[in-house]
């Protein structure tokens, strides 16, 4: 069974890269263009894992996680934060927002896939 | 573009052989879109003498050149018996009027010889290599050299 990933990023380029990388690794990918779109897609897509950018218009990545964790649907889904920041402050923030993990941009394809495989049990 | 590299001896290349200006030439088959009978063209004013005009090829405006004239031989007076070879390099489609088309010639890449350096006339420059066939010698037309992409008026 291939896991279904919801990738939320306002950058077309990053969306394209994520889609290419994840589809190559055998995942099904749905993309969303900002936080609001992401949360809306999350309601209908049976995502096994969510990857979200932090800095986005309309609703940022932490807002997305908050909505997911507070929502009624699939609230315990693993959520990875995709960010250019790193360091303890990020970890702290991601943690408090309820992220499962984080990936630092630019991401390494293999590392990304291996983390996702681990978090989805595939 | 296909280079006729002697080192790649395994490679099999197919050419269409043709006659222009009374001599044998050939064009690599991958560069040929189709071969059709001569049909009247729309003349272009102020064009070089080897440009016969343009034809409508299923909605595209395609220029037709007299290959013999382009190579420096005397111009052909086109008749029903003459043939147009529609060639495509990159995005450009150009038709070449020739006297006749003979056959498809398949050769191993190592049969292609470099063009001996002679004086640089129009036909020598447009020849990418030669293939000895029996007593005859068939010259390979380089469409790149024949039809340079940059024109004086290109912006």
């Amino acid at each position: 069974m291939s896991a279904h990933i919801l990738a939320i990023d306002d950058s077309r380029t990053i969306r394209a890269l994520l889609t290419a990388t994840l589809e190559k690794a055998g995942f099904a990918v749905t993309t969303a263009v900002d936080g609001v779109d992401g949360v809306a897609k999350f309601q209908e897509a049976q995502a096994d894992l969510v990857i979200t950018d932090v800095n986005m218009p309309n609703k940022d990545g932490f807002g997305v996680i908050n909505d997911i964790r507070q929502g009624q649907v699939n609230r315990a889904v693993p959520v990875l934060v995709l960010t250019t920041e790193s360091g303890a402050a990020l970890k702290d923030r991601a943690r408090r927002a309820g992220a499962t993990g984080w990936i630092v941009k630019p991401f390494d394809d293999e590392a990304l896939v291996s983390v996702i495989k681990r978090l989805t049990g595939t | 573009m296909q280079r006729h590299d002697n080192s790649k001896a395994e490679k099999h290349i197919e050419f269409v052989t043709l006659v222009a200006g009374g001599q044998s030439f050939c064009i690599e088959i991958t560069q040929i879109r189709e071969i059709r009978r001569w049909s009247p063209v729309t003349h272009l004013p102020h064009s070089p003498s080897y440009v016969l005009g343009v034809i409508n090829l299923r909605g595209a405006v395609v220029p037709i050149l007299d290959l013999a004239a382009k190579l420096g031989f005397s111009a052909i007076t086109p008749t029903e018996r003459h043939v147009i070879i529609i060639t495509a390099i990159d995005d450009r489609i150009v038709g070449l009027l020739v006297e006749s088309v003979s056959e498809i010639l398949g050769v191993q890449a190592d049969m292609v010889r470099e063009t001996p350096r002679t004086k640089e006339d129009a036909s020598a420059i447009a020849v990418a290599g030669i293939i000895p066939v029996g007593d005859d010698m068939i010259k390979i037309i380089s469409l790149d050299a024949l039809l340079p992409t940059t024109l004086a008026t290109a912006a």
């Binding site: 950058s11 077309r12 380029t13 990053i14 890269l17 290419a20 936080g35 800095n55 218009p57 309309n58 940022d60 932490f62 807002g63 996680i65 908050n66 964790r69 507070q70 315990a76 889904v77 693993p78 959520v79 250019t84 790193s86 360091g87 303890a88 943690r95 408090r96 927002a97 309820g98 992220a99 499962t100 993990g101 941009k105 630019p106 983390v115 681990r118 978090l119 989805t120 049990g121 | 729309t42 272009l44 004013p45 102020h46 070089p48 343009v54 409508n56 909605g59 405006v61 995005d91 450009r92 489609i93 420059i125 024949l146 340079p148 940059t150 024109l151 004086a152 008026t153 290109a154 912006a155």
Partner: protein, 685 residues
Amino acid sequence: MMDSAILDAFFEECEDLLVALSDGLADMREGLADDETLNAVFRSVHSIKGAAGAFSLEDVVGFAHIFETVLDDVRSKKLATDEALLRVLQRAGDILADLVDAARDDLPADRDQVDPVLRELESFLSTDDLVKEEFVFEALTLSFDTRDSGSEFEVSFHPSAEFYAAGNDPALFISALHDLGPCTVQVETVKLPTDLADFDWTKGYLTWHVVVADQKNDLAIREIFEFADDLCALKVHETTKDDPQPDVMSLPEEVETVPEPDLEPAQAARPSTQKASKKSASTLRVDPERVDRLINAVGELIINQSVISQRIEEASLPNSSELYGDLDNYKLLAREIQEGVMAIRAQPVKPLFQRMLRIAREAADATGKDVNLVTEGEATEVDKIVVERLADPLTHMIRNAIDHGIEKPEERAKTDKPATGTLRLTASQRSGSIVIEIIDDGQGLNRERIKEIAVSKGLISADAQLSAQEIDHLLFAPGFSTATEVTNLSGRGVGMDVVKTAITALGGRIAINSIAGQGTTFSITLPLTLAVMDGMIIHVGGQTMVVPITSILETIRPASTDLAQIGLDNQLLRIRGDYVPIIDLAERFGVTPQSASLTDRVLLLIQTESVSQCAIAVDDIVDQRQVVVKSMQGTYGQITGISGATILGDGKIALIIDPDAIAAGQGNALSAHIRAQKEDAYATT
């Protein structure tokens, strides 16, 4: 291959982001910026950096990073946006655009340009900001355990409520440990409530003990817990050694945490107020090739429609036939489809104009002039190809206007002009055409000088009597501009003739209007749609050709009293008391007209850019109808006097003539000149 497509998408996205950046900075300059503007500006740079990182575009990433850090301080109000900062941000925006351009063209960054701005940006940052950058990576604990055979590690973890809340599943951790080596797993259930009614599934009650064999060290194990080591009381220790391992974990209190509502970011619920229009509407990205195929198919449809019209006409059906009504509907539908398809390719000129702002700033800097470029009509939409092909001509003309048109501040001070010159770049739609104007308030064209140059280049004879308009048009003559005439700035190996060629290739025209001391206006008129135009079908010397209707004022069948002659061949048409020159199209194209006498032929009175009016003599007028314009660019190159070709109802090709080129005052000499060049180009194979 896939990567190059994504890379293309990246550069495309950069264009959009740079426009957003430029818009935001403009709002900041005008004091219109709210928090969302600042966020958007920050995000633009941030997104460029993020995506550039994926392609290892180090120059872009490095610069964007410092830029972004400054912008972050701006949006968090650590930095006040004063004049000096705004100027640097503006420059930084330009540099970022340059860096993206350089990356696209695979060129090295121009460090001479980049570094000073980088230093300026850094001057706004606290040492704190800069130092933070030195430590972007988390330290790794390296273990230099080199024992060859594996040892056994015991992993104990007690997930907290937060562990579950963050989307973790213990089973997945255990299965990941299994992948490392043979495991034995035990679960400790002592913390389960005895009464299941007290059970709260969001809490953690269980502790797992997993013994993993054959491990060199604990790195792989810790990596599995990379994201969760603070969410579960994690203990990892080697069982073969007896020392207890209290080092790693701090046992977090088991607290009932739900994500705190106050952590919801400020942006989450933002009123969409006045900026709503700037948000991009939902769009569909389509491979341009598919659109091109559709456009070609629609072109065929229109040709097919004219074939059917012709057939029906030939069938001479009774006028009452319903077929005529049906045919009209068909025509309408075909036109509607065609307009719809062309609209797909329409794009606002805004990104193009934004680029010109940058060009103007650079040109002003380089020449030491004060210039304010004002853009108008940015929302005007034109075909994608037009946007692409106008970039170079506009760049050249903007540079020219600043270099040659607008005076230095000290010179302007001597007149009553303000020290800052104004350059206006406008786009508008006027009766079926797009008009783009470049208007400067500079000194106007120096016609004496233009004439001198034209004489010295042999373009005109020294005693030529030329009208002001004709002199202005010498600028477009091939071979007019050369390195000695243009300065470093505008002289990039191209002249106005290239501008004119590019615009003609788009089916457009260019006009000059210059008033000494007051400035110069260049007007570019482009057809609204590239693919279809209204044409008059004519015959010349047995050939069928098309003249664009837009340039025809009227058609005249001259009586001999309407004609006059100067010299041997120069025919004139007398019309309403005026005389206009007659150009014999047959003669111009080297074909034989059907009749030697002009009274047997038809004259098309043409309004042109270079000479005010002229009459083109043709053999006959056949029809007036829409034609599909086929470019001859890709296949043949430009032919003087011909702007393209079309395919008629009978499948034959008709050339579309360019009345401007035909009428050009110096017509014959010029076309001979160009012809010579063309012959050269063909000869130099």
